[in-house]
Symmetry: C2
Subunit: 145 residues, 2 copies
């Protein structure tokens, strides 16, 4: 595991790397993925560095997913989708790439988008402008105008 | 949406359809999937019928995922895996098939198991004996011997 100082999510949380933040409180931050499966793809993370779901405390995991629920509704409304997948991967064999616990909130729009495509061949990184606009829409749904 | 009386998960919760239950409390039940992606694939559901994550209350979603964390650790240890995927699908386009909110806890064992296979071509339904044995292992990890 990389030292925390090199963890990209810790750097985002510390404000050392810019991101499109849509929500934060004392314990949790949510920001747009830079490699969205679909527009509006948001990551919800604990501010404290936990590698995976095994490591976080009971209280914090409860709060984390209370936030995930709120983000889910905001992403659904901001992106005008009905479908939404919530995914949390643990361990390399579990598909985890960044080893700071994170929950994917992925809007799903297309009836013919096969599930097995979700994690393969994601679209190219969105433009900074597109990401910023999506983040603004989600923040508006969360009431943070 | 089917009436709740026809919901297969409501029937399992009511004890009208048998299942391999690994955990239950006042609000939540966890039982093995009858169509496991991998052995030990467990579903965690609220006992009250909510269609999706949008409908459940803040308090209940927090508790639901506190249970998911406990189940995750038990499944990991019972199945001797390091990898684990937690997936919660909403809406038909989100991959939801049974319209009673449920969280998949899926042990992942193989380095070469491509993520895009996870939801395609699952193995045939496990034998009743294999499911019962897996459920017993998970219950033991949860301390419910």
């Amino acid at each position: 595991m990389k030292p925390m100082s090199e963890c990209i999510f810790c750097q985002i949380i510390a404000g050392k790397v810019s991101s499109n933040i849509v929500y934060q409180d004392e314990y949790v931050m949510a920001f747009l993925s830079n490699h969205p499966v679909n527009p509006g793809h948001t990551l919800v993370v604990p501010k404290k560095h936990y590698e995976n779901i095994y490591d976080i405390s009971q209280e914090e995991v409860g709060h984390l997913f209370e936030v995930v629920k709120q983000i889910s509704m905001a992403v659904r409304d901001a992106m005008s989708v009905e479908g939404l997948r919530i995914v949390q991967n643990n361990g390399e064999v579990g598909g985890q790439v960044i080893f700071h616990l994170h929950v994917h909130v992925i809007p799903m729009k297309l009836h013919n988008q096969r599930n097995d495509k979700v994690y393969r061949d994601p679209p190219d990184k969105c433009s900074d402008e597109a990401l910023a606009l999506d983040a603004q829409k989600i923040r508006q749904q969360l009431g943070g105008r």
